[in-house]
Each structure stands twice: as C-alpha cells, then as structure tokens.
Symmetry: C2
Subunit: 681 residues, 2 copies
C-alpha cells in the first residue's frame, strides 16, 4: 500500500468532514468511511439515486485544496443509464458510481442526507431532523439452494444483515405471506420497509416490494383532540406534509367535554367500547381521506403517531377512563406505547403499520402536553418560558434549562366560543376581531371569511354570503378586552349601564347589562351582544388559566416570566395584547409573547419523523415536575384573585407601558364581584 | 458480623448444594443465596406454599452434620394460618417463613422446584425439565400518588422489577384494559402471568388476576399432522398432561395427501385461505374441547406449541405452499416463530396467548422432524442412531454426537392402511397382528378391540360387536412379512400359486395370486386377502423408507446402524422383527430397535414446557445436515435395490441369526420384478 498521505483528500460539505481514501474509492464508500451522512436505498447499485453529490472544481483556499478535472472518475454507463431514464440534475454525480481519483470537494445536497433537517414555517425552537423508525432497504437475496435449505425469510434476513447491518429481522405471518411472491417477481431483488425504533426491540419487516420501490413511505401525525381530530400525512423520507385534514371528534355525541364522556362511561357500563369505536372509526376514515387527498396508495402509510389528552388516550386504547375522573387520577399507563396500528383498528392503512403514542405526563397532563414540550423545548431555554396550550383544558408548562414544571387547568370551553350567548366555533361568519373606540364606545369588527372591517366600504357585500353569525373564541377575548379598555367594563367584570358608560349600546338585560356589537335583526340575522353572563364565563376560564400559570410560578419561585408561548390552533389567533388586558397570561413584554402554532401537532410530526425525538420526549417527561391543580391549596386562592380584569393583586407593569386601563367601577352595591374584590384587598 | 464459620450450615437435598448463612435467614432466602431451585409465586408472603421444604433431624454422617431440634425457627403464625386454611403436609415447612437457626438438612420436594424434572412413561432419551416461558408472579403494587403521577402499568412494571427482577415489562392494550380493575379489586396485590422466552425480547404481560391466582396456567402441545391433529393440554407448572385429544385434519376434504392439497392451491388461486381457515378452525375447536374435558377456564391456556410438516406449517400461517410443491422446495420461513396465538385465529384460549412453531429443517423436513430430534436427541447419542418417524411422509434422522443427518422420504399412505385392498385405519375390527404357520401355511390374527387370537376359544364372541372389518397398517406389515417367512412370497415380492405354495389359501386373481387371511362372507363380512397389488404398494413404501435411511448412511459412510428408533403413533405398533423381514429398516440387533412413541408430540410438549428446549431445537436444526432425496442420484438406485424382500443387495446378518427366510422363487418368466432383480445383480 502506498503512503496514506499520497491518497486523495476528500472534503464533504456542508459537514466539513474530511479524510484521505484509497484512489478509486466510491464517493458513497468514502462517505461511510468518514461518517458523512449520505443516503442510499439501493446500496450502491446506481438505481435509487439517493446518493447524489455535487463535486466542485478549482482552488479552495478555505480547505487548502485544489480540485482538478479528473478528481472523480469519468461519468460511467450506470450514471448514463440513470440520466437517460430519469434525468440527473446538472453537475450532480451518483455517489455510488463516481470514484475518488484526486483531491476533491463534494457537496451533499439536503435531499441526499438521511438525517436531513426539515425546514418548517412556524418559529419553533427545536429543529426537526429526519430520523424515522421505518426505512427502505433494497437488497439482493440469495436464491434457495436444495443443498443448503433455508427459508426465504432467513435469506432475506441474512441479506439485510450483510448489506445493511440490520440484524435479527422479525416479521408477522402477513408479511411472510407476501414474501415469496415479491422475491420471485423481483428476481431476488426487493425493497423492504423495516421498522426499527429506539426501544431496542428487534427490527420488524413491515412491507416488501419486488425490485426497487420508488413510491415513497408515509406516516400520519395525529392530534386527537376532545373536539377536533387533525392529521398530517407526512413523507417519511423528506418530512414534507403531503396532505392535512381534520374532522370533528365523533365522541362529541357522548358529551362535549371530557368529563361528560367519562360520566357517560360511568353511567353506562361498557360505554367505553362505544367511545372507542367512534374515535377509532374516525381515525380510520381520516387516514383514508388523507391518502386519497394526497393521491397515494394507503398501504404506503406505515406509521401513525398519536398525541392526545389522557382521557382520549385511554379511550383510543379501549381503556375505561373512569379512574381519570376521580382522585388520584391514576392513568392505566403513562409511558409511550408502540403497538401495531391494527390494535387501534387503523385498518385503512398498511395492515402491518405501527402506531406510537407519546407518553402522558400525568393524569391530567397528557401526551398532547408532552408533544407541546417536544415542539417548544422549554428545557433548552435560557429564559424562563411559559408555554400555554389553550383548549378545553389548558396545558401549561413553565421552565428553562434548570427545571420544567407542568400542570393542566380546567378552563372550560368558553375560549372556544362555547357557553357564550352569541358564541360559535371559528367558521365563516364568526366575528374574530373587535375594536371599540374609547371615545365613542362604537365597535367595529371583522368576520372570518373577509379581511374588511365592518366600517370599511364594501363590507356588507363581502360578507353577504355568510352574514354575521356569531362570535368565536378570539373574537370574544378581543371584545371583552376592548370593553375593558373602552371603560365599558370595570375591573370586577361588571358591564356599566348606558348612563354609566354613555352609550346606548349598553342595554339592560334583567338586573345586568349587555353590550351590543352588531344588530343583524333587520336582515333576519342575530343580535350579537356580550352579556354579563358571557363576561362571567370568560372570567372563569381566564382565571383558571392564569391560576395554573401562577401555581407553576409559585412552585418555581418566580414573580415573572421572560417569554410566553401560546400553543394550540387557537393560540395562533389570540392577540397577545388582548390576552394580557384580560389577564389570561402573566405580564410580559408584548414582543416576548409568541405563538408556536399547533405545537402538539408539530410534536406529533417530530415523533413521527424521528426516533431521537421519541427518546427525547420519553426522557423529557420523566424530568418534568407535575403539579396537580386539583389538590394545590393555593390554586383556589389564585383563581379567585385572577377573577378581576386583568387581576386583583398582581401588577402588570409591561402592560401598563402600552395600555392605560380606565379606573371605572360600576358596582351598584348589589354584592357583585367588584364589591367582593374590594373586600378581599 | 460474626465469623462466617460460626454461621449455621445449610445443606439442600437432592441438589447437595450447601453453604453457611446468617442465623435467622429464611430458608427461601438461603436457597436463593446458594442457587438452590426453590419455587415461590407469592415472593415470600406465606400464601402460595410453593416453597415447601422438609427438614431432617439427627446425625448425617454423609454430610458431616448433626441437625438438632431448633435448627429451624418455630412454626409461626403465617404457617399456622396456611395450615388451618389449606393444610400443609406433615413434616413440611414454608421456606419463606422457617428461618435457619442452626445446621440443617433440608429436602426440596419435586413440587417445590421450579425446574422440576417431568417423569414420562415412554423411554425417551432426553429428560424433560420444567422451564416454561410463561410464569406467575405475585406482586404488591404501589398505589397511585398525585404528587408523583405515574401509570398503574408503570408501577406494576416497577414492582415486577423490584420484587422479581423482571425488567422492561410490555403489554398489549387488551391487558392494559384489565389492569386497573384487577389492581383495585386485589387491593394492590395481583398475580401476573409474564411471558419471557429465549429470544431476548422484552417480557410480556399475558394475564392478571386480583390477589394470588391459584388456578394454574396451561399450554397446548399440538402435533398437526396431514391426517390427524393431536393436542395435549399441559399444566405449565408441573408438566402434567391434563387432557389429550385428537381429531381429523379437516383439510382432508381438499386432498388426502399433502401434494394434492398443494395442487388444490395451485389450481384454485387463493385456495390456501380455505385450507388455512379449515385447519385454524379445527385447532380452535380442539383447544376448546380440551379445556372442557379438563374442566378448566380456557383463558388459563396461555401458550400453544405447534409441530407439523412444512406444508401444514405454511398453511397454518396462511402462506401459499406452492413453492413447497416444486424444486427447489423453498420454505417461506424456516426458523422458529413466536407470535400471538390470535395471529393463528386460536380464539378459544386466552386472547393474549402466545404461539410457538418449532423450526423446519428443510422444505421436506419439517417442524415435526425437528420435534422428533428434540425428543430423541440423536446428537447426544454415543451410538449411531437411526430415527424413523413413520407416516405419510417418513422423516428420517441419522446421527450421533459427531453429526446428525436428516431427510424425508415419500413413503405414501400404504403403511397407514390406505391403497391396500382390505386396508383400513387403525380402529376396532381391524386386523393388527398376523401369524402364519410355516408348515400348514394357516394364518391366525388379532383384531383391534380384543386380546384374543383368532384361533383362541371365545374369539368369535369377543369380536361379535365389530366383526373383522379389514387390515390396518401394522397388520399388513406383519402379514406380508409372515407370508415371506412362510414361503408364500418370494424375495421379489411375488405370491406363489396354490400349487407352488401347497395351500388353497393362495388363490388366483387375474394373472397373479392373493392370500386369503379371513373369509367373513358367510357372516356377511368381507373376504380379507393380501393381493399382489398390496404387496407392490408395501414394497414401494418400504423401499422409499429404506432408501432414505440408506442415503443418510451413505452420506455418513456407514454400513450399519447401532440403534433404530421408530417414532410416530404408528411406530409404536410396528413389530421390529416384521419390519426387518420386510426390509423397512436396516439390519440391527432386534433388541436395539425401539419405539419412541409419538416423538413429535413429545417434542412439542418439551418445547411447551421449556425455553431451554426451544433454544436446543433451534440450535440443533442448524447443525443438522439436510439431504434432499428428490435430487440425490443414488436415491433411485437405493429405491430399486430395496424393492426385494428384505433386500436385493444388502445383507441382514442380525436378522439371519433369528429368522431363516425360505429361498423360494415364483417367477413364471413373465417379467415380474424378481426377474428384473436378478438381471440387476
């Protein structure tokens, strides 16, 4: 052998990994020698093109190397065949065919990396790197030999061990059933989808295709909420979302909120079976619809990851959730679960597909909260970060590098427009934004489906189709906050009369008042008001949310937080300023309040695309300190104090810098909460 | 601590293990310290009584120890409570309660050993030691704590790890569904059945009971034959067979022999589904019937082990067996399989029960042959041992400590009474034994259902119920061999005429002759004869068997074998002398020919009761040299030479010592096989 220093130097970008290899070494082999992440499904046979690289020529002072023509071996017949058949981008070479002949700089484009980083739109804190449990392997399998008899499966297994270092393959009978046909049809060349997770369990064969399979592999990231079920059909090679869809959770017919579903089961022994069937049926339908939308064969969906709250978690698994309805709120199982998707009756995808359920944090803090923590990574934050996933139950995380705490708080459905007199779900026609002029006390608003404000010209025409039908969650929050800022509402939450506020829009309703936002009765539409009852409902919800956050801050010994992250589909629509005026969230500089979008869904997609993420969340939840709001003595105290708008006790210095809240009081001495508040002070 | 030599000496019998322990150490703890196999399900709580020992008192010169009164602590309240409630045999102590106070000799009775040896009736070579995959564990589980929330399953898993060193428990959703109820009903004390096999897979929870489960655990050992299915319901704690039963393989309606079933699938695409459903349905029925017969709850059956030939193996798994019908006879899978029993639609037992299929040796040598090798252990034999499992296909093993060879040979169904003019299955009324007087050429016989010979007084009355209905497999073998010994049949297999043999029982039938054994026509019964066609059918079958054995002997370079073991239900009924006269088996001293009974069934039961046996057979089959008779050039040659009775070429010196075969020849020059034989010589 020649002196190693005579060997050509190979430098890979963007990793910067470098080293000398024997002349004539293929780029793919060089990458493996040097630990460079270069993909290959066909194992170097020049047919999958996953190992494409771009050589650079010329002088590279930075690398201290000059790359001459001829640094790589000539374009060969295999590359020509591939280029003729499918086309190779200009400047690209097949890493398994091009051999290193001289010093060379090789760029590995993102699509040639196994562990490519996925670019995401939302400003999430944790990067997402592809590291899926299920991968494709192209193998050449030895033909059967009467003199050395062995099963086709044993020879497939040996080929995977030799060609891919995948050892100890296991398979179900239904895979074995397809094996012999595929091997013979493929002329003893097949592509196998192998599932290997982070648990140390043996690799498991999920699917087989004759020859090289080029149809891709897909997974479902499912965010199973009490009210809605959302799923993202995701490409397991690129992380790309191919289709997204959602539907109502059909369990709603057994009860709007979780506790009423638990009650249904308690009142109707065996009722959990109906609930389980309902949600499983919905998941199967959703999976089928997504495959159709993306135009892919449903059998290419080989994994599903589910995040959900503990009650949905148990009902999906067919476990009676009764224990979750009463102290000590014991989960049947809290750890992550990996199981055949068929165990969840997910029959519309590959029959051997796997399902993964993220771990639950506690009896009230579910796999959805675990997914939020995976997506937002408070445990990596230098600043003290408060993450709130707003929904029927709010999941709350507080923490930084040193420690993370979690709880859930029963906000109820008011933030979703339920239990509000004119409330409705976010849908076209719903008021989603409100402004009230502090001088005239006149409102203007926007409805979902139009970008125009109600006082803009053309508004009536723009919304003619839907009309103004009600007010949704973000609309009611803005409306209440604007009423407070306009002096229509006092800190105790009392709406002033027309006399007290100086506007005829404040109209008597029994012994209290309501504020009229829109009167559609002339056009046969509804009168949309914010009633005293609506205010009380919002106060209850926001008090619960704030009290939960405050409880975690107490535990942490913190008076303030550095950052507030609002998660949940709804979180994306909340105006931080209005949320703070309402006292939903603790005081913080407004530019430190951000939305993480549907963080639970993002966490599900991360766990779908990466076994490292699964390990991360499984380890992560064990380190989270769980606070049970139901038994915390101070919760009730915080809850009462948080009833005022924004708060009876806590100062909001950052809010005061930008908003001047009128010091009004409409207490008429009838024992309304304003009076109580003062007494408590 | 005191000087260890001051500590009491404990000697356990029958193991002979001995050592010193601190005074006050419980016998159970002492056993664990010294590596003595002492059972316990309740973990030392004095409720399961599995750890019973019998202390001996007095002087033991052999052990060099004197055991005084007071060597064990006094009978305590826990023992008293157990004795009051269930009764403790006289002289016994509970090992978890009795503490060592002085030197003591303790006998561990077989029922207190986990790895107890099972006493079997048949003279099998390999001992059977209990080492089941599924065991019961009694645990106390921590109650849920809101301040440290964790799932009930996680706390069960922790309890198993702490109390039994069973770590990393896994479970299906259907187990999790039962968990919370059982824990609460049992007051946080439960018994769990945990499956742990030899593959390194994580322990798997199969069943749970509140409190201490005392109903036992059971498994099925299933011998799935082409014609019959036999199963033994076995106690997984003691190895005891609680019930045994069999039924016809319902696949018979698709074809009597395997190849006709393979043809059915080839001619009817998808037909394997029907065959699979038929056999799975039969297994489920059989399992249900056995549980009923034994009077046990079918959910206590938590394991099933299946042995069968390769075609049945594939059909049971739902795999198209077409490849097994044509060279190179490729198995879809040859290794052992461990899978949920529900994957085999074994729905009449515990829904989480496990199934284990022994490995196949080759495309023609199945898991049944592997089971025979497990039961007869040729690889441990000092002598060269030939094992023949006689059935529609014969499985043949030849070997000793140095090497084992295997093949299968297509004997056809003649040995089972099929394709024989008066043939029938072994059932009451069938002739099973035959003797022919060499002087008078007169026969006498016995039929199944009576111990009397046909010339004994009272025979007619004894068999009045059934009559004489036909001749079964062992009967036809004896008849043909007796005809040869009596000079009614020449070495070429030709039956002599009445003139040539001097008996009117030799009667013309076309151009050949038949020998009349019994004429029942006067009583309306059948005339039972052995025809020339019957002789030819037996010659084909025995030639195939002998040629297979001879092929293995060639490969081994052996002219003779030391021992012949006949396996299979049928093997138990074959007379070694007659088999040798016929030339079914190679020459050997008659007292070296034995029956191993239903060795395949025994092997199945061994694998059911012991994971060590599973490991043994899995390793064993990889070391067996497989010989494919279909492609061995010498097979045909051996087959032709074996056509003569006993053989055209091979000497039978041991046989000659006890039997003098008449040197007759009935060849009338019409080209019968006798003539051909001479030409080949």
């Amino acid at each position: 052998m020649s002196d190693p220093t005579d060997q050509p130097l190979v430098i890979f970008t963007p990793s910067g990994k470098r080293g000398r290899v024997a002349p004539g070494t293929s780029v793919l082999a060089a990458a493996r020698q040097l630990g460079v992440d270069l993909d290959s499904v066909c194992g170097g046979r020049g047919i999958c093109s996953k190992c494409q690289v771009t050589p650079s020529y010329g002088e590279f002072a930075k690398h201290g190397v000059t790359v001459r023509e001829g640094a790589l071996s000539d374009w060969n017949a295999v590359e020509q065949r591939y280029d003729d058949k499918r086309g190779l981008p200009k400047g690209r070479r097949l890493g398994c065919q091009a051999c290193v002949m001289g010093d060379v700089v090789l760029d590995v484009p993102p699509e040639s990396q196994v562990h490519r980083q996925v670019i995401r739109k939302s400003a999430d804190t944790r990067p997402m790197v592809m590291d899926p449990a299920t991968r494709l392997f192209f193998v050449e399998v030895a033909e059967p030999d009467m003199h050395e008899p062995s099963g086709d499966f044993e020879r497939l297994s040996a080929a995977l061990a030799e060609q891919w270092e995948v050892t100890g393959l296991t398979a179900d009978p239904s895979f074995l059933r397809k094996l012999q046909g595929a091997l013979r049809k493929g002329g003893w060349q097949v592509t196998v989808a192998v599932y290997r997770d982070h648990t140390g369990a043996a690799p498991h064969a999920l699917e087989i295709w004759p020859g090289l399979h080029e149809g891709g592999l897909f997974g479902l990231a499912i965010d199973l909420g009490s009210t809605t079920i959302a799923a993202h059909l995701t490409d397991l090679e690129t992380g790309e979302v191919k289709a997204a869809s959602g539907l109502m959770n059909p369990q709603i017919r057994f009860g709007e909120d979780l506790m009423s579903r638990v009650s249904y089961v308690m009142m109707n022994p065996g009722g959990e079976k109906e609930l389980t069937e309902a949600v499983r049926g919905a998941l199967a339908d959703l999976a089928g619809a997504l495959a159709e939308e993306a135009g892919i064969d449903p059998s290419l969906i080989v994994e599903a990851v589910v995040v959900c709250n503990p009650v949905m978690h148990h009902l999906l698994l067919g476990i009676d959730p009764t224990e979750l309805g009463q102290a000590p709120f014991a989960l049947a199982v809290s750890g992550a679960l990996s199981l055949p998707a068929s165990d969840l009756d997910l029959t519309t995808i590959n029959p051997r597909a796997r399902a993964y359920l993220l771990p639950c944090i506690a009896g009230h803090v579910g796999a959805d909260a675990a997914a939020v923590s995976l997506a937002t990574a408070p445990e990596l934050s230098e600043e003290l970060m408060l993450v709130i996933d707003v929904g029927t139950n709010a999941e709350i995380l507080l923490g930084d590098r040193t420690r993370v705490l979690a709880c859930s708080s029963p906000t109820g459905p008011a933030f979703e427009g339920a239990q509000i007199s004119s409330g409705q779900r976010a849908a076209p026609g719903a008021i989603e934004r409100v402004e009230i002029d502090p001088a005239t006390k006149e409102p203007r608003f926007r409805v979902i489906g139009s970008d125009l404000w109600s006082d803009d010209p053309g508004f009536a025409a723009a919304i003619a189709q839907t009309g103004v039908t009600g007010i949704c969650g973000s609309g009611i929050i803005e409306a209440v906050a604007e009423m407070r800022m306009a002096g229509l509402l006092d800190p105790s939450g009392l709406i002033g009369s027309a006399e007290q506020t100086g506007t005829p829009r404040s109209q008597p309703e029994g012994r209290t008042h309501a504020y009229l936002i829109h009167d559609g009765s002339a056009e046969g539409g509804p009168r949309i008001t914010v009633t005293q009852g609506d205010i009380r409902a919002i106060q209850l919800a926001k008090s619960a949310l704030y009290a939960g956050a405050r409880l975690l801050m107490d535990e942490r010994g913190a008076d303030r937080v550095d950052r507030v992250v609002l998660a949940g589909a709804f979180g994306a629509h909340i105006s931080p300023k209005h949320a703070m005026v309402l006292g939903m969230i603790p005081d913080a500089p407004l530019d430190h309040v951000s939305s993480a979008g549907n963080a639970a869904g993002t966490g599900a997609r991360m766990a779908l695309c990466s076994v490292a993420a699964r390990r991360q969340v499984e380890e992560g939840v064990t380190k989270i300190t769980k606070i049970e709001t139901a038994i915390a003595p101070r919760f009730q105290e915080h809850f009462v104090a948080a009833n005022a708008i924004p708060h009876a006790v806590d100062a909001f210095p950052e809010l005061s810098k930008i908003v001047d809240l009128p010091a009004v009081s409409f207490n008429s001495g009838d024992g309304a909460s304003g009076g109580r508040r003062r007494k408590r002070r």
